[in-house]
């Protein structure tokens, strides 16, 4: 009988820990090439359309920033959660609720038009996302529920709530019965960074600022120390006088707030109204972003751009070589798989043991 087991390595290679995301990227490209081969496409062409072409034109670089903004915002928030050992899987739901809460003003009170509308919308989006993340956090801190399940289930609640809103009470009265809200008025739209050259909006600036601030907090302040200590060693965290329950709330509120900000920025900056579906799975893809960026906010900026490229590449490949845009999801899945596999193999090695009863059958010990 053959048995495969993982054996912990006595020491990890620092070199390979640093290289791991790049190795994972390379393996994803190789596996992607094989996938295109099976789809009957020329892998070199396909990879070119997927990963190179979107980087060659200015407008598409703007699209890259549009897609990267929510991924980075959510990803850095998730890094606080994951570093402190809180497994928030529900960023997608917090993104949606942030978008809904932020849209109340332009949708329900379209007559209220002032420069203050946009700041209020952003604030309400932040509060909405944080409050929605507060539910699994409170359940975990108070009753010890599993936050993976509760936060994930709340995603579906949020999606269906949005669906109901745009088909029901919030449907645009002048919209020919399409399931959409009215379009946001000019005061409710997040402006472009560089209107002359493309669509990239201020959400990308928010993302970069959030990443820099959280990088500083994590690496230089007592709060960051608390996050990492509780995550690494909960008992030592308690000995230091830090409260685990308060950290659960803190981590979820921060990541919910950033997911909510991402939601309202996306709706206000990129879409301009609420629709039944406002996210191609940013909240889930951001989990990959967080891990590919090694839970380091600066790494997450880079990882967010890479994953944004996979979305763009999916669209581009759909047009130019006629493959399904599901290919983008396949790439993201492979990337997460390879990142986790690389990390696992840095910490463990594989041992294959054959349990053959070879020579020298053990005598079951007769005593002298």
């Amino acid at each position: 009988m053959m048995r495969v087991e993982l054996v912990k390595r006595p020491q990890q290679s620092a070199l390979f820990s640093a290289l791991s995301p790049f190795i994972a990227l390379l393996l994803t490209l190789v596996a992607g090439a094989i996938m295109f081969l099976f789809l009957g496409k020329n892998p070199v062409d396909a990879l070119y359309y997927f990963f190179i072409e979107p980087l060659l034109e200015t407008w598409s670089l703007h699209e890259l920033a549009v897609k990267a903004a929510p991924l980075i915002l959510i990803g850095v928030g998730l890094s606080i959660c994951y570093l402190s050992n809180n497994w928030n899987i529900g960023a997608e739901g917090q993104f949606i609720i942030g978008a809904i809460a932020g849209s109340i003003l332009p949708v329900v009170f379209p007559g209220f038009q002032s420069w203050i509308v946009l700041p209020l919308m952003l604030l309400m989006g932040v509060v909405g996302g944080a409050a929605y993340a507060g539910i699994p956090a409170w359940l975990k801190a108070r009753f010890g529920t599993n936050e993976i399940l509760t936060s994930l289930m709340l995603v579906y609640v949020a999606q269906l709530f949005l669906d109901w809103l745009v088909r029901g009470p919030w449907r645009n009265p002048e919209g020919f019965n399409f399931p959409e809200t009215r379009s946001f008025h000019a005061y409710a739209v997040l402006p472009e960074i560089w209107p002359a050259s493309g669509r990239a909006h201020w959400g990308f600036i928010f993302a970069i600022v959030a990443a820099l601030v959280l990088w500083f907090v994590l690496s230089r302040t007592l709060k960051g120390f608390e996050v990492k200590l509780i995550g690494q060693s909960p008992r030592a965290g308690r000995f230091a006088g830090f409260s685990r329950a308060r950290m659960v709330i803190f981590a979820f509120l921060v990541s919910g707030a950033l997911a909510g900000l991402a939601g309202i920025s996306e709706v206000s900056g990129a879409i301009g109204q609420l629709r039944p579906s406002i996210s191609p799975g940013y909240g889930f893809t951001a989990i990959i972003v967080a891990f590919l960026g090694r839970l380091n906010p600066l790494g997450i900026i880079a990882a967010g751009l890479v994953l944004a490229l996979s979305y763009l590449g999916g669209e581009a490949a759909q047009i130019s070589i006629g493959v399904s845009d599901k290919v983008a999801r396949a790439f993201q899945g492979m990337l997460l798989f390879f990142v986790l596999a690389c990390d696992t193999l840095i910490h463990y090695r594989i041992r294959i043991s054959r349990r053959l009863r070879a020579k020298g059958v053990e005598a079951p010990a007769g005593h002298a």
Binding site: R220, T221, L222, K223, F225, K228, L229, Q232, S233, R235, A236, G237, R238, F239, A240, G241, G360, E362, A363, P364, A365, G366, H367, A368
Partner: protein, 521 residues
């Protein structure tokens, strides 16, 4: 030395030039050692001297870089613990790996290389326990057993493999003196049968008493092979440490002192099935006093420490009082701010975060008390100030480390313990509570730590030491109380305390009867 080794060509085990490298560090550097049949051979050395590395190579858990192992005259390579067991080498670890919720027999069954029915295992275990004077009920749940009994399970588990060489790692560190005596009788029986024992210990008196020969390691090298009965404890210690171990100096405490730490009617229900509940604990520690709490591990010391440190709060505010003020409702940071300091038993994972650096670990226990020095506004850490303090502590306590600011896990146990104790002493706390201050720590570091605790008390602080090591308590305490099943006896002044008296209390005798009432299990 080489001449004597030549004569032992027919040794049971003959190790030559065994070497193991970790990076550039030579953990073991050409170790020679020979064990005869029917010999109890001591392996002595400070923490970090290479004892564990050496033993792990013998037991197949580590692969040697160079050197040969001869077993009954034949050269062997031991690639795994399974192969070691097949050769006839058994090991009893210092930390037990037993499942609390299973019975003794079930635990033994799980560890067998060849599956056997539970009934047969239980019968065999009972047979062995009778033959070797290791009283044990194979059907008892491990969670209900004392540490001594758990150790017997490990020994029986080892004996079931019919080993010719048994490696014991610090076996008496968890036993009462009476239990230790019983263990020595068992070892004598094994020896008469012609089995050999490699006995790792830092208790020199014990080594002198039961071991035939000793090998002393220092910094990965063999310093000497000797006959321990011809050495004195201090000559052995000198070989281990390289110079004279300072004897701990203690002065008589002065009278009329204020109470700095007071515990009144402290009770606590067990949080989970294998925790111990505390009932009605009273104690007071005065300024300038070192009070010891003796007891076999698992009698509520951990739970008591959690309650006193404030990791778990009390219902009544006056259950714990620090420097005359109620502290029962304050958390650990609040109690630190009142002038108390705490050192828990577990170094890695409780006192220190393994993957964090020493300076981060300094911040761990002092981020509140020393906020002014270590943090600037908005909670930004002053890395420079923290690093400087960490350096100061490392120098004061002679913490030996390979780099400027290594991760906690890179330090040997003794060095890390010196650091976590020094981290608190550096604050000059008025109240110090320490759980197992020198557990698994080498003689040199232990002496240093004990002296530091006595000096702290001499400066007018109250020191509470929870320890399983009676020698240690007798060395440093002004009075000793005993914890058994979550109850605490009245303190016995050191002048009236004897090993026997304390040992009996540890075994569960009540002070009134003063007769051994060892509990039936």
């Amino acid at each position: 030395m080489s001449a004597t080794l030549e004569n032992r060509a027919e040794s049971l085990l003959d190790v030559r030039g065994l070497t193991k490298l970790f990076g550039s560090l030579k953990a073991c550097d050409g170790i020679d050692l020979a064990i005869d049949r029917g010999e109890i051979h001591a392996l002595l050395g400070e923490n970090g001297a290479g004892k564990s590395t050496f033993v792990k190579m013998l037991f197949g858990a580590l692969e040697p870089a160079a050197g040969t192992i001869r077993w009954k005259g034949e050269k062997v390579t031991i690639a795994s613990p399974g192969e070691a067991r097949k050769l006839g080498i058994g090991m009893v670890f210092q930390h037990f790996s037993l499942f609390d919720a299973l019975t003794a027999a079930e635990n033994i069954m799980l560890s067998l290389d060849d599956p056997a029915p539970a009934g047969a295992v239980a019968a065999r275990a009972r047979e062995l326990s009778e033959a070797y004077g290791l009283p044990l009920d194979p059907n008892a749940h491990v969670g209900d057993l004392s540490v001594g009994e758990r150790q017997r399970i490990e020994i029986i588990r080892c004996l079931l493999q019919n080993p010719e060489l048994i490696i014991l790692d610090e076996p008496t560190s968890v036993l009462t003196p009476q239990e230790a005596d019983r263990l020595f009788e068992t070892l004598a029986k094994l020896k008469v049968e012609g089995r050999s024992i490699l006995y790792i210990s830092h208790r020199l008196e014990e080594v002198k008493r039961i071991c035939d020969r000793a090998t002393v390691l220092r910094q990965g090298r063999v310093i000497a092979h000797c006959d321990p009965s011809r050495e004195t404890a201090s000559s052995l210690a000198r070989m281990m440490v390289g110079d004279e171990v300072q004897a701990v100096v203690r002065e008589k405490p002065s009278a009329a002192r204020e109470v700095l730490l007071e515990v009144r009617g402290l009770s606590r229900k067990a949080g989970h099935p294998f925790a111990v509940s505390l009932s009605d604990i009273d104690l007071s520690v005065h300024a300038g006093e070192v009070l010891g709490i003796a007891g076999v591990a698992g009698n509520g010391q951990g739970e008591f420490f959690e309650a006193v440190s404030g990791e778990v709060l009390q219902e009544k505010a006056d259950a714990v009082r620090i420097r005359g003020k109620d502290a029962g409702r304050r958390d650990i940071s609040g109690r630190r701010l009142m002038g108390a300091a705490f050192v828990p038993e577990e170094r890695l994972g409780h006192a220190a975060a393994p993957l964090m650096t020493l300076s981060q670990n300094l911040l761990l226990s002092r981020c509140r008390t020393d906020a002014r020095a270590f943090l600037s506004r908005l909670g930004v850490i002053r890395q420079g100030a923290v690093a400087k303090a960490a350096k100061r502590i490392a120098e004061a306590m002679d913490v030996r480390k390979a780099s400027e600011d290594p991760e906690a896990t890179a330090l040997s146990g003794g060095n890390l313990q010196k650091f976590v104790i020094g981290r608190e002493l550096d604050r000059a706390p008025m109240v110090m509570v320490v759980n197992q201050p020198t557990w698994g720590v080498d003689a040199g570091a232990a002496a240093r730590i004990r002296q530091a605790l006595i000096d702290l008390a001499k400066g007018g602080s109250a020191v509470l030491v929870i320890s399983q090591d009676l020698d240690e308590l007798f060395e440093i305490c002004d009075a000793i109380a005993v914890m058994h099943h979550g109850r605490l006896s009245a303190p016995i002044p050191i002048g009236e305390a004897t090993y026997e008296k304390v040992g009996l209390l540890m075994g569960g005798a009540t002070p009134e009867t003063a007769e051994p009432m060892l509990e039936a299990v």
